[in-house]
Symmetry: C2
Subunit: 407 residues, 2 copies
């Protein structure tokens, strides 16, 4: 009892311990995936260009590839005439060479033939019978993108931590990358607990309710960039909890259990963790959600959330979402996901514990949602929550508050 | 030539035509998916509660289920004594009944036994030898959540268009929903065109470049909520384009082609569309990206983007992303995805065409990215683009502009 009491933590302390456990026990890992399947993933490495781009001097317009000096002085009034010795489409090559008095007709995107310096656009040329009249003077390199002018080989083009959006995917593809190293999604197993819960699709006998936490916390973890799996339901007895967690540890880096009464799973999970590993937090001084357990087994995290779905999601959002998102390599500023507004009604809060008050945001109006903490339907209307510090007994109507938004 | 000229559209007109084609030719469709796999999907139907929640009168605390009047007058000084006739865990039921002078020990989450009205918390009771001393007076319904108090059967709980976040998924699970109707992702096929392009993994012979648009536009469509597939490369000849598009139409609702020189694919695609369907737009008065084609075959959309990847992505973002996102059921306010700031350098713009200028955003500083339009590496640094209206020749340093952000 004494030890357990010592493991009840204030919110700030709990936040710090959990972040530290994530940092010390769990490694950011990488995996190689196809670039074409990489939308939304996070680069695990700096990426350098493998080749000059464009990889050759490239015509930027449809026209005639010439020696620049062959056009000097040309105008509509006094055109210069050249022999057209070949036609070069994009993707094609020629062994003919551009020399004084000769040119090659060329398409946008084609590699400039040997000798040629400039392109005279088709709009400034008149072609007939194997000859062309140039109607304008071209500067050297006009309408030519020089080899490596966009990027040279060996340059840093993307950085570790970059979010792979379509543009960055395009950059990788242009360099011929078929695969790329991205952050591996942390593997997370979710287990629900409690004699009263049934799975959807099973009949619901009297006294039972459907399991919510399994599917909900799994999806909350997915929203943080994890590869999360629901591993089913266990009963709150020592052997079953030990067996289920030992099994889950073979697959997952992080296990999140929830449910049972606060006395039930909490105590059993605590004992199992003490046998197999170490308990770091047993209770957080917060309402709702006090019965939260954080432990470590073989450098993997085992988290016990309250069974009440509203409390479980609040604790997940307030304490687990940020370190999990960081572990997934996502550089998200959680501080930015807040909005400010004014309370539309007064709320009372228990002194001595941090309270998380669910609210609905309507412009600058912050409406508190009053429901007992088991009221799952508050989750369909809540936009986020307000933190009421443990020393504050009352938030008055009209008081300015900061809302931590869900998602 | 006359007809084609008529089909060159100003930006606003093109936006309107494309939205109208999406609205008229393509239907928002639904599919049934597992609730546990539904994170990020969009509800296709209003959802009503299937049952009262809680589905029974539920104990909110561990304690003793009693008739309220049996506790009236009880205090620490003068406890009231009752017989404990049973113990009820969450999920269990009993056929015993609470009557005057009798109570049932009960766990949080258990269904209240017949006859019982209130729960006296275990903290306010002393149990010994089949009896309990109540140390406090309970009001009727104290620490009991009444059947249906959270939500009654038949109430609207979620709305068509709702984004399925973890909380809303929790609400669906609590009602026993195994599956749910969500917006079906529009099926989109992406085809690249051009003799000069090679696939990643193939060797790159002289004069060739890697295909960028296939993987990039596919992922841009995925970012808009589509189920997008890259269907490979075609050459710019009539038979191959006709064959490839006819094939793709069997699977996809929308086909996006790109590539070839502006004269190449544009003309071929135009002819194929005129044979099999109808061309609505052939050219948009915008830089970059003029050679854009929008047509319809059998109520499916066929879109031809410029081959230049920067132009292709710009046209996609400026004209296709918004109607595609709406088709996917996503209620996104594209106007919100803008930021304002000041140009850090002067830019010139061609008169007579809308120009999209790529920029990098650094706080309130908007840096124009100067590169020829073939410069794919601008896509790794660009945050978005500024629209320079066709009548404007110059945006001066320090001028305030609005940036349309990528993603």
């Amino acid at each position: 009892m004494g030890t357990e009491f010592l493991k009840i933590k204030e919110c700030d302390e709990a936040t710090e311990i959990i972040q530290k456990l994530f940092d010390e026990k769990l490694n950011q890992q990488s995996e190689e995936i196809l670039v074409t399947e990489s939308y939304g993933r996070i680069l695990f490495e700096d990426v350098y260009s493998k080749m000059d781009f464009p990889p050759f001097d490239k015509a930027l317009k449809d026209g005639f590839a010439i020696l620049a000096e062959d056009s000097f002085g040309a105008s509509e009034e006094s055109p210069k005439t050249l022999d057209v010795i070949d036609f070069l489409e994009a993707g094609a090559t020629t062994d003919k060479k551009v020399e004084k008095g000769k040119c090659i007709e060329i398409s946008t995107g084609a590699a400039m033939p040997e000798g040629a310096e400039s392109v005279v656009m088709v709009e400034y040329a008149e072609k007939s019978d194997g000859k062309v009249n140039l109607l304008t003077t071209a500067t050297p390199t006009q309408d030519v993108a020089r080899k490596g002018s966009d990027i040279e080989e060996g340059k840093l083009i993307l950085k570790k931590g970059d979010f792979l959006n379509p543009g960055k995917i395009g950059v990788l593809l242009s360099q011929g990358f078929e695969t790329i190293e991205v952050y591996k999604k942390p593997i997370l197993g979710v287990i629900s607990s409690g004699n009263e819960i049934s799975l959807q699709g099973e009949g619901l006998t009297y006294g039972k309710i459907y399991d919510v936490n399994g599917g909900m916390i799994k999806n909350a973890a997915i929203s943080c960039g994890a590869d999360a799996h629901f591993l089913g339901i266990m009963r709150d007895n020592y052997d079953e909890v030990k067996h289920k967690i030992t099994d889950a540890l073979k697959e997952a880096d992080i296990i999140i259990c929830s449910g049972g009464t606060s006395a039930g799973l909490g105590d059993v999970l605590n004992s199992v963790l003490e046998e197999l590993g170490e308990v770091y937090i047993h209770g957080i001084s917060v309402q709702p959600g006090k019965p939260t357990i954080i432990g470590v087994i073989e450098d993997k995290l085992v988290i016990g959330l309250p069974g009440n779905p509203v409390s479980a999601l609040m604790i997940f959002n307030a304490f687990i979402a940020e370190p999990l998102t960081k572990l997934a390599g996502i550089d998200k500023d959680f501080e930015l996901d807040t909005v400010k507004g004014k309370m539309t009604r007064r709320i009372h809060s228990p002194v001595g514990r941090m309270q998380y008050q669910l609210v609905k945001v309507d412009g600058k109006d912050i409406h508190p949602i009053f429901k007992d903490s088991g009221a799952i339907f508050s989750l369909s209307t809540a936009d986020g929550y307000v933190k009421v510090p443990k020393s504050v007994e009352l938030l008055d109507e009209g008081e300015e508050v900061e809302v931590y938004l869900f998602n």
